[in-house]
């Protein structure tokens, strides 16, 4: 066998693409619309502020946590808060990942159904997505990361095409008044907009195995800046192009924006392409998610058999997402907010502790 010098490592470029997919896949969900509806004309500004805050958090987490702790985020939790802390954190991570996956699966299934399968039952779409996710998770983490390196550029290209084809014909008067509903509204939406980027935590679970830990902050930052710029441009394009009256009644911003694309008589629409990349993006995210849920189970509870855990989780999550209409309205969305901010807060706390510890140990 060709034995490479560095075993079990991912390429930096693949890590960058993982970061980008983790930070842009929520464009396809209904999350941005919750912000667009309340922000109105100030949506791009809110998004920009959220992005800047997210970059700061990401930089802080990668530079403080990964550089000062051996292993991944769970090892960091154990080092800093002991075994109980690690178990609690593991449970929180698993809850977040599971809820996020349910939300993602539900959203993407509804979006895909809306684009091209109006009369199909929801389970028809869900089954394709969950099958891709489960098969992806049954492989090893390396292959899932490698997939990101291959598919993420396609997703990015289509999104850039969407933005470019809509942004130049927008009505700039829709951006005014700049502050939309007021300063308070902008700031509160900026804060809640951070939910679009909480999945960066997933990277902290795998990044330690990257090709070069020295450059991990740079690798992650490049990806994060690019993804956040894409998010901002998407928000800008949406605000310029979509009238508020129409935006109020729809669930998926990308669906509205996609319908606005008109290239001419030959290549008229991006619907099919958006469907393709949204399916790919969801499968990428969910397979990574399932892999990390299993890894977290393994690290905390000691499970070693992957296929039964992954398949069982996949089935359970898809059943819950199909039945989500029976839950109180927006309950899953609120759970995502709670778990997402909880995980983010815990990680920031862990990063602060790690930084303080390293400063104290340096002084000694």
């Amino acid at each position: 066998m060709v034995k490479n010098k560095l075993t079990a490592s991912f390429k930096n470029s693949d890590i960058t693409f993982v970061v980008i997919n983790l930070l842009i896949y929520r464009i396809f969900t209904q999350l941005p619309m919750t912000i667009f509806k309340t922000s109105g004309s100030a949506a791009p500004l809110s998004n920009l502020l959220s992005g800047i805050a997210a970059i700061g958090i990401i930089w802080f987490l990668t530079s403080c946590l990964l550089k000062n702790i051996n292993g991944n985020l769970l090892d960091a939790a154990e080092t800093l808060f002991g075994k109980l802390g690690k178990v609690l954190f593991c449970l929180l991570i698993i809850a977040y990942l599971a809820v996020s996956m349910i939300f993602t699966l539900e959203n993407f299934s509804n979006l895909i159904r809306l684009i091209a399968f109006p009369t199909s039952p929801l389970w028809f779409v869900t089954i394709f997505l969950i099958l891709g996710a489960v098969l992806g998770a049954l492989g090893n983490t390396h292959s899932v990361i490698r997939l990101h390196g291959i598919f993420a550029p396609i997703i990015i290209t289509v999104l850039v095409l969407l933005i470019v084809s809509t942004i130049y014909q927008g009505d700039t008067s829709r951006l005014f008044p700049l502050l939309g509903g007021g300063t308070n509204s902008v700031l509160s939406n900026s804060f809640s907009g951070i939910i679009l980027y909480t999945d960066i935590i997933l990277l902290l679970l795998i990044a330690p195995n990257g090709e070069s830990r020295t450059y991990i902050t740079k690798t992650v930052s490049i990806g994060a800046i690019f993804a956040l710029l894409l998010n901002f441009l998407f928000a800008l394009s949406f605000t310029l192009k979509i009238p508020q009256t129409i935006a109020q009644n729809q669930q998926f911003p990308i669906y509205l924006l996609m319908k606005q694309v008109y290239f001419g008589r030959f290549f008229q629409r991006l619907d099919a392409l958006i469907l393709l990349v949204s399916a790919l993006s969801s499968m990428l995210y969910m397979s990574l998610n399932l892999t990390l849920i299993f890894d977290t189970f393994r690290q905390s509870l000691g499970f070693s058999q992957k296929p039964p855990v992954v398949i069982a989780l996949g089935v359970l999550i898809s059943l819950i997402s199909l039945q989500s209409y029976t839950f109180p309205q927006n309950s899953i969305l609120y759970l995502v907010y709670v778990c997402g901010f909880g995980v983010m807060a815990f990680s920031i706390l862990a990063a602060i502790f790690a930084k303080v510890r390293s400063v104290l140990s340096e002084k000694k």
Binding site: V2, I150, A272, L280
Partner: protein
């Protein structure tokens, strides 16, 4: 002459025999006389009759009419010693036998016997001046060598056989490559003989570090396989693994390199080839210089190069013989061709069945008017046309040359034209099938082309079931499979060159490093400035 060497004990020889299962089974299956020393020990006996009897049984002399056993007498001074030689007519060169073995031993003979030398040594010295020769004491080895075209001489009183390498079988000369023809590169191709093939590679590389190990494969056929690599460049663990896999093949007969490929590749189910096959010595030499391993199999003009990754699948030799822009453009065309072949039919089905809004309005109405007369559903029509095309492709391989062009006319014009006129297929569908087929032909090797032809059905099926969602699932699963696969430890989707991108190449003066994914012992193959004549190069 007495054999001065002490006789090995029977017990020891029996133990030797037991330790060598090959001899055991062969002797058990073929030798009737189970009482002779030769049978018991597997060693050549000084008794000529025993050896004769053994070989009669081993070679089924009564039935094999092409096996020649020629009795003669060796003249030594003024006496004659009985001897016989055995060879296969058609495999050994009879002219050499008559001129270089029989004539010296029979007619000229040996004029004197130097003191202190035994008969074996005398006869060996006499024969060696005429032809390559070796003294073989194990019967099994004698049988193998005679089966491979050598001639064995047994002399009464000698407990060894003198085996002369005078192979004289008919073989094809070095010709032109059939499946990898290039316009501006060398026009030599491998042939079926392993030694000739090794020589073809060696004359390009001229490196004393180029090693060619002989690993016979096949318990009965003992097909020689040459494992070639460059010492000091190739990763030693790769060589070790290749050697391990080859030597642990347990099969009776090996017929070609395709058998070896199937026996040593990581996964037989994997759709794409994990070892490259080439019939060009220049390509094999180039891959060896990059740190890969080449396996040459006797009887096959295609050699195996390992490991293979996805980026190797779009390379051809022509890329190195044309200008860079042209080479990159051709690579791009090849890549586009492969993607079109794989995905175009699936995309077409998905668009036609699920995404009518994405089709331009004029085109949509043109398609609608043509499909109005069609009796079959789209998917069925597409599958039938693709199968028809595959039939034509398959038939054209076996059709005799004089009527080959006629088949092209029949298949292409008449069937296509008639299918459209009879409203069995729409014109647009014919175009889609043709483009997909041409795209498959653009693939650098036939194995990739065939793999793509099989995989496209998966995408047609998925596109027909769920449109672009199904195609996305198919793409995801296929790329996942590629990402999880390895070829001799190298990830299949790993990029090769350090300075090049996976799919495009740079000028030769910029290719400073060997492929990183092979982890070669020496990664640098040229200094940063390789064009010393150029002023100001940095």
């Amino acid at each position: 002459m007495k054999n001065n060497k002490p006789k090995e004990s029977l017990t020891q020889n029996t133990k030797n025999r037991e330790n060598n299962p090959g001899i055991n089974s062969y002797i058990k299956n073929n030798i009737k006389d189970k009482k002779s020393v030769t049978y018991l020990t597997g060693i050549v006996s000084p008794n000529l009759a025993e050896n004769r009897s053994f070989l009669d049984d081993a070679f089924n002399c009564e039935k094999n009419f092409d096996l020649v056993v020629r009795d003669f007498k060796v003249k030594i001074e003024d006496r004659f010693i009985n001897a016989f030689l055995v060879f296969y007519d058609g495999l050994a060169n009879k002219e050499f036998i008559n001129r270089d073995i029989l004539s010296p031993l029979m007619t000229k003979g040996l004029d004197y016997t130097p003191k202190g030398k035994d008969l074996e040594e005398i006869i060996y010295q006499c024969m060696i001046s005429q032809a390559p020769n070796s003294k073989i004491r194990e019967m099994q080895t004698v049988i193998e060598l005679v089966s491979f075209g050598n001639c064995a001489v047994f002399v009464d009183g000698c407990n060894c056989a003198f085996v002369a390498d005078i192979k004289g079988w008919s073989m094809r000369s070095v010709g032109k490559p059939i499946s990898e023809s290039v316009l501006t590169g060398p026009q030599e191709a491998f042939c079926e003989t392993v030694m000739v093939n090794i020589a073809l590679v060696r004359k390009i590389l001229k490196d004393p570090n180029l090693i060619a190990e002989n690993i016979p494969v096949g318990t009965k056929s003992k097909t020689p396989c040459a494992l070639m690599y460059i010492n000091g460049i190739t990763n030693t663990s790769l060589v070790k693994e290749a050697r391990r896999r080859l030597s642990q093949i347990n099969i009776d007969y090996i017929f070609s390199s395709a058998d070896i490929e199937m026996l040593i590749e990581d996964s037989t189910v994997f759709p794409l080839p994990q070892l490259l096959k080439t019939e060009r010595p220049d390509r094999a030499a180039a891959q060896l210089s990059d740190g890969k391993v080449v396996i040459i199999v006797q009887g096959s003009p295609f050699v195996l190069i390992l490991p293979a990754t996805a980026s190797d699948l779009v390379e051809t030799s022509e890329d190195n013989y044309v200008r860079i822009a042209e080479a990159n453009f051709m690579r791009l065309i090849r890549l586009i061709g492969c993607f079109l072949a794989l995905l175009l039919p699936g995309f077409f089905v998905a668009l036609m069945l699920y995404h009518h809004e994405s089709i331009p309005t004029d085109l949509l109405f043109a398609i609608a008017s043509s499909r109005e007369q069609m009796p079959f559903p789209l998917v069925l029509e597409l599958v039938v046309m693709i199968l028809a095309f595959e039939l034509i492709k398959e038939a054209s391989i076996r059709v005799p040359e004089p009527i080959g062009s006629t088949l092209g006319i029949v298949g292409g014009l008449i069937l296509g034209q008639s299918a459209v006129s009879a409203n069995i297929a729409s014109p647009l569908l014919i175009i889609i099938v043709s483009i997909a087929a041409l795209g498959a032909f653009a693939a650098p090797s036939t194995s990739i082309s065939r793999a793509i032809s099989v995989l496209q059905f998966l995408f047609i099926f998925l596109g027909g079931v769920a449109g672009f969602l199904g195609v996305a699932l198919g793409l995801f699963i296929l790329v996942l499979w590629l990402a999880q696969s390895h070829s001799f430890g190298v990830p299949y989707l790993s990029t090769g060159q350090n300075t090049d991108s996976p799919f495009f190449i740079f000028p030769i003066w910029r290719r400073e490093l060997r492929p990183k994914n092979l982890n070669p012992q020496t990664s640098k193959k040229q200094p940063h400035i390789s064009r010393k004549w150029k002023d100001g190069e940095k």
